[in-house]
């Protein structure tokens, strides 16, 4: 009997999700599963994901791998799929509540942020007390990933979060400001310039992902500030790791989309075969596919892997 499965990503313009799809496709081929892929049209696109889930039900798929754009708004549709007998696995981002999916294979995005926050703080040492921080976020609509990474960074750096469900409400004077980047070079450069115009003494830059970091670097470079500014990021894509090696990015939190995707496909195959559902990592309510800090300048008390290792594990 032919098993089919679905992969629904947030967008398919972000390389992260493109790689996730490639990983899933490779594994599906290996296991003889038909895989259909869907994606939102823009960041935060819940509507298209709902339509995709409905399509999967109509297509008689056995399971769905979902990176939810909106962690709570998608829940009723996920419930509908589970009621129809599909296995739903959240990838990368947990649903709200987390048990709305059968299982979650994820990186802890908050943790990813926290790691680079800690690293930046440790690297700056005493200077951390009067750092000037630029926060380059994803989008004005504050999608969940963006908020988790942003707030995780602040937690790690020792900044009072305010409401952890949104950015921009903290009062710490070290934060110069937030701007949005759409997660690409173009947005990264413009956002960096805007914040530099507000305060030229910025020396720490948090970025939502590595393309945004590359854009921010261009902005710093154009005024000769690229050497004395610390850029941290999240994702761990191969170009990103290469940028860590080149000194563009100080450190990045690496995630493992290929692993998430292939584990997810395996889980669906197992479920289709004899109805077993995957189990969570010990002590957590989700299956943690892990996150590692990649840097060649390890900091005291912050676990990290070298660029060399990062390159082996990187995606895309």
């Amino acid at each position: 009997e032919n098993i089919s499965a679905c992969l629904i990503t947030k967008t398919d313009t972000n390389p992260f999700f493109v790689k996730m799809r490639e990983g899933a496709e490779a594994k599906a081929k290996e296991l003889g599963i038909t895989l259909n892929s869907y994606a939102g049209k823009v960041d935060g696109d819940n509507e298209t994901q709902v339509a995709a889930i409905e399509t999967c039900i109509a297509n008689g798929a056995k399971g769905i791998l979902l990176t939810p754009s909106s962690t709570s708004a998608i829940v009723p549709s996920v419930q509908q799929a589970r009621d129809a007998g599909l296995l739903v696995i959240a990838l990368d981002t947990p649903l709200d509540p987390i048990d709305a999916a059968d299982m979650t294979f994820a990186t802890d995005n908050f943790k990813a942020g926290e790691l680079i926050g800690q690293w930046a703080k440790a690297t700056l040492g005493d200077k951390a007390a009067d750092a000037k921080i630029a926060m380059l976020d994803l989008d004005v609509s504050q999608p969940t990933v963006g908020v988790l990474r942003d707030q995780g960074f602040m937690q790690g750096f020792g900044i009072d979060l305010g409401d952890p469900n949104k950015w921009g409400d903290e009062t710490d004077a070290r934060v110069v400001g937030h701007d949005v980047t759409a997660g690409n070079e173009e947005g990264g450069r413009k956002a960096m310039e805007n914040l530099l115009a507000t305060d030229p003494s910025i020396n720490v830059v948090y970025t939502i992902n590595e393309p945004a970091a590359a854009g921010a670097y261009e902005a710093l470079k154009s005024i000769g500030r690229e050497k004395d500014t610390l850029i941290v990021s999240v994702d761990g894509g191969c170009p990103g790791v290469a940028n860590v090696e080149a000194g563009v990015i100080g450190a990045t939190s690496q995630q493992y989309p290929l692993l998430m995707a292939s584990k997810g496909i395996e889980a669906i195959a197992a479920y289709a075969k004899d109805g077993v559902k995957p189990k969570a990592t010990e002590g957590k309510d989700f299956f943690d596919t892990g996150v590692s800090l990649v840097t060649d300048k390890p900091a005291e008390g912050v676990p990290s892997i070298s660029v060399e290792e990062g390159k082996k594990l990187c995606w895309g």
Partner: protein, 314 residues
């Protein structure tokens, strides 16, 4: 009726390719459910476009109205019924603002609604503090907000009240445009506003009524959204691409962007055509980017066919 022909051909082609999976009651009613929001917005958009205007703010307004319905209920504890009424009233008020700027200040509709789009979208994020109200909470505490999501069976197929609302709305508007004086005035104003004014139409009144009605329908669309998605989410994509989606439906449906020509039923079929294509391509397993590309081809193709049929049958 060119759009109807295109629609039927699309259904037949996909049915042929996908077989019974596509012709199942589930898939067929699914299309209706998936297009209900765009369908309602396209009905609103049709009205504006018939007056030779365009409304880029429809999607954002629908989202903000749904947020108002949700926040009024949950933040201020207003009874859901009144919160819905407030959402609809707010939509109408924003529509009135658009109408006033277009009709009295005489600004081009494209510009007015481009500005209003940004204002409404930003206000939406700011007012809601980007917080989603969860479906479970709504279900427990204010099920009336999800009223239009109520399902019922009809001949093996599942319909929701939202779908019925869309269909009734389109039929009522089609009737009003065809068979009432107001409808004739909408066409006349879109055709040539100066001539309409000289020949006895209250142009300002007609434009105001259209923009306010459009705002009201956006409010309805917001309510439909809560029914469909269960939750109230300020970051709903409709806010960003609802305008383009509704305009696409309208132009595929054969309404002229220069105003005064076309039928609102066309827009409804236009929305369905896009819905059939998207579902069909998805079910056939097309990659999202390919789907996106093919929708682009569809837009140009549908209008070319329309043009060609008109020429041949002229």
């Amino acid at each position: 009726m060119v759009p109807l022909i295109v629609l039927l051909s699309a259904v037949i082609v996909f049915g042929f390719v996908l077989g019974s999976k596509f012709f199942s009651p589930f898939a067929m009613t699914l299309i209706l459910q998936q297009v209900q929001i765009v369908g309602v917005l396209a009905a609103a958009q049709s009205l504006v476009i018939l007056t030779a205007g365009i409304d880029l703010s429809v999607g954002a307004l629908a989202v903000l109205c749904s947020v108002i319905m949700g926040q009024f209920t949950f933040r201020y504890g207003i009874p859901p019924f009144l919160a819905v009424a407030a959402g609809l009233a707010f939509g109408t008020a924003v529509g009135a603002m658009n109408g006033w700027l277009v009709s009295r200040v005489k600004l081009p509709p494209f510009i007015v609604t481009l500005g209003m789009w940004q204002i409404v979208l930003a206000a939406n994020y700011l007012y809601s503090a980007n917080e989603t109200i969860r479906a479970q909470d709504i279900e427990e505490q204010a099920p009336f907000l999800q009223f239009l999501g109520a399902k019922f069976q009809f001949g093996g197929a599942t319909f929701t009240l939202g779908v019925i609302l869309m269909i009734v709305l389109v039929l009522v508007l089609a009737y009003a445009l065809r068979s009432t004086a107001w409808g004739r005035h909408v066409y006349a104003v879109g055709d040539d506003p100066e001539a309409a004014g000289l020949s006895g139409v209250n142009v300002h009144g007609t434009l105001m009524s259209v923009y306010m009605l459009v705002g009201f329908i956006c409010g309805l669309a917001g309510w439909v959204m809560i029914g469909r998605y269960g939750s109230v989410s300020p970051s709903a994509t409709t806010g960003v691409i609802g305008n383009i989606q509704s305009i696409t439906a309208v132009v595929i449906g054969g309404i002229s962007l220069f105003g005064g020509r076309g039928s609102i039923l066309g827009s409804f079929f236009g929305a369905l055509i896009v819905g059939v294509f998207e579902l069909g391509l998805r079910m056939a397993g097309a990659d999202p980017q390919w789907t996106y590309l093919l929708i682009g081809v569809l837009i140009i193709g549908a209008v070319t066919v329309d043009q060609w049929i008109r020429k041949v049958t002229a």
